[in-house]
């Protein structure tokens, strides 16, 4: 087992990894930017090294500085968290070449599945259904029009090097297709450094259902069920739940087996997630694979009774899959709400700044994964996620009731948060019925009846 791990990340996920390491008796080294000197993960780590100025490009994305810190700190392994360098095959390769363990899949697997087009090809090859689409990169707008006509509108133009809901353009007819083709390429070049795009059939208002994969280094691959991430705003997930309200045992078996088959076929190791789109007729299509730990790993942990970060560390250290993970079965229901430092009353404008007062809910069945605290200054340089609230219930409706109760206690002043937005969703009939899709948030917010629900407490005012 490792003696010391460097956490190449920040915020709530850095805290999450540090907690798992501490429980395993592993020493922790945090790296941080100038803006994060007072961050909780820096305070709680055994050691901390400043690696640069505030902007990510000058700190958290600086491979050379992270590797220097790893050398100076004499670490055995590096955990990349999510985002930043977590799916950067070059980073994984550099770490491996320095004889340090990268807590994640091998770099060549990250490379393969990171290319969205290549990933689709792998899926097709292993017999996993994929959304009808182009046979690879679309070279010019004439080919784009041909492919789109063949698939049938509406279609989605997607960046090959994209991900996380970025670098996409929908097109409903040939005119918008041609325009979308060119603007998607331009955007892709800017955001990901590669202009190549491919085309997929656009499934209107699908359900976004993903499967958690855990694979050790001895060839054993299992899945830990699904998460429904259909509650999204502008292609960014806001609420996730496990299990999915539209899942049936038969569909779970089919999708789970497809996920495991695909993971095995590419030689996957460690944790990963396979994302599917499911249409109204419960037909599923492979969308993409995320070769990292996800933000919403928490709800799988609660329902399947495991610690996925500890399992990641064990797998990276060469241990076989833990028995309790290998034979895990789902029990109870879990929901996660992502709390962002954004103002839902003002088009979700970012709201960085000093948290004047922070009180997080507690009580039975409530889990908080957050690096926030009273007096903490949320920096403007990074994503706006300040915490995740997870509730567990014996049934879906008790998990929802619990989330509604807990959000009413989640009290943060000094900055704006999305707590009132989540509180409104917990009261929505459509959500409570489990009859929602990726168009839900848009519909809810444009309805006349929509109202944000601020917390009830008036502490410290």
């Amino acid at each position: 087992m490792f003696e010391k791990v460097l956490i190449a990340n920040r915020g709530e996920i850095a805290l999450r990894v540090i907690r798992a390491c501490k429980e395993l008796g592993i020493r922790t080294l945090a790296v941080y930017s100038d803006a994060d000197v007072d961050s909780l993960h820096v305070q709680l780590a055994d050691e901390a090294i400043c690696i640069g100025a505030a902007p990510s490009s000058e700190s958290y994305l600086k491979i050379d500085r992270i590797m220097s810190a790893a050398e100076v700190g004499d670490v055995d392994a590096i955990h990349p968290g999510y985002g930043f360098l977590a799916e950067n095959a070059h980073f994984a390769e550099v770490v491996e070449s320095c004889k340090i363990k990268f807590i994640g899949p091998p770099s060549h697997v990250i490379q393969k599945m990171g290319d969205k087009n290549m990933a689709r090809a792998c899926a097709r090859k292993s017999g996993v259904p994929v959304t009808p689409g182009s046979d690879g990169v679309v070279e010019n707008d004439k080919d784009a029009a041909k492919v789109a006509k063949k698939i049938g509108y509406p279609v989605m133009i997607k960046a090959v090097a994209g991900g996380g809901g970025r670098g996409m353009r929908a097109a409903h007819n040939e005119t918008s297709l041609i325009a979308g083709y060119h603007s998607a390429r331009l955007e892709a070049e800017k955001a990901f450094g590669a202009a190549d795009v491919y085309i997929e059939k656009l499934i209107v208002n699908p359900h976004h259902i993903e499967f958690q994969i855990v694979a050790d280094t001895h060839g054993r691959v299992v899945h830990l069920g699904e998460r429904d991430c259909s509650i999204q705003r502008r292609n960014q997930k806001v609420i996730e739940e496990c299990p999915s309200p539209i899942m049936t045992p038969g569909l779970r078996k089919k999708m789970g087996n497809a996920a495991v088959k695909l993971a095995k076929s590419v030689g996957y190791q460690n944790t990963g997630t396979i994302e599917f789109l499911v249409d109204e007729d419960r037909r599923f299509y492979f969308m993409e694979m995320n070769t990292r730990l996800q933000v919403e790993h928490t709800i799988t942990e609660e329902v399947y009774g495991c610690d996925l970060v500890k399992e990641q560390i064990r797998i990276a250290a060469g241990e076989p899959l833990s028995p309790h993970v290998a034979r895990a079965v789902p029990r109870s229901h879990a929901i996660q709400c992502r709390i962002n430092a954004e103002d839902p009353a003002n088009n979700f404008q970012p709201s960085p700044g000093r948290i004047a007062f922070y009180y997080a809910p507690g009580g039975r069945g409530v889990r908080i994964d957050s690096h926030a605290y009273t007096g903490y200054v949320v920096p403007p340089y990074y994503d706006s996620l300040i915490g995740k609230i997870i509730t567990i219930g014996a049934t879906r409706s008790s998990a929802i009731d619990r989330m509604r109760r807990a959000l009413d206690e989640y009290y943060v002043t000094g900055i704006k948060t999305t707590v009132p937005f989540h509180a409104a969703i917990m009261r929505s009939g459509e959500f409570r019925d489990g009859k929602y899709d990726t168009g839900f948030v848009e519909r809810m917010m444009s309805s006349e009846a929509f109202q944000l629900v601020p917390p009830r407490a008036h502490l410290h005012e």
Binding site: I49, I51, R65, V72
Partner: protein, 133 residues
Amino acid sequence: MKKNDLSVFEMEKDGFRIKLQKGLGDQPIIASTAAPAVPNGPATAGAAPTSAESASLKEIASPMVGTFYRAGSPDGSPFVDVGTKVNEDTVVCIIEAMKVMNEIKAETSGVIAEVVAENSKPVQFGQVLFRVR
């Protein structure tokens, strides 16, 4: 000092240095240190500069993460010492990162007032290496 309304008093003589400052509140802060006698001696435990003096000194901060070395080789003489005159291109130290020896330039001009970082110890981004008058 109070009588003469002095806030800082500094004296250096024969390898001994003392600094007195009329500090915050009415407490005088006394800091003293032995100045380095030989170039290859142990790293200077520099006197914590008084806040009044720090404000006027320029800092050379580390642009990277690595190990700080005062000399170009284990038995070489340090690039600079307290009292050395530097200009922008003067190499003041080496920072070793990933087995690569990086020569660090002063990027300021003046006279080295203090060697802050410790020889062969790790330094992080932004850490103060030297203070320059």
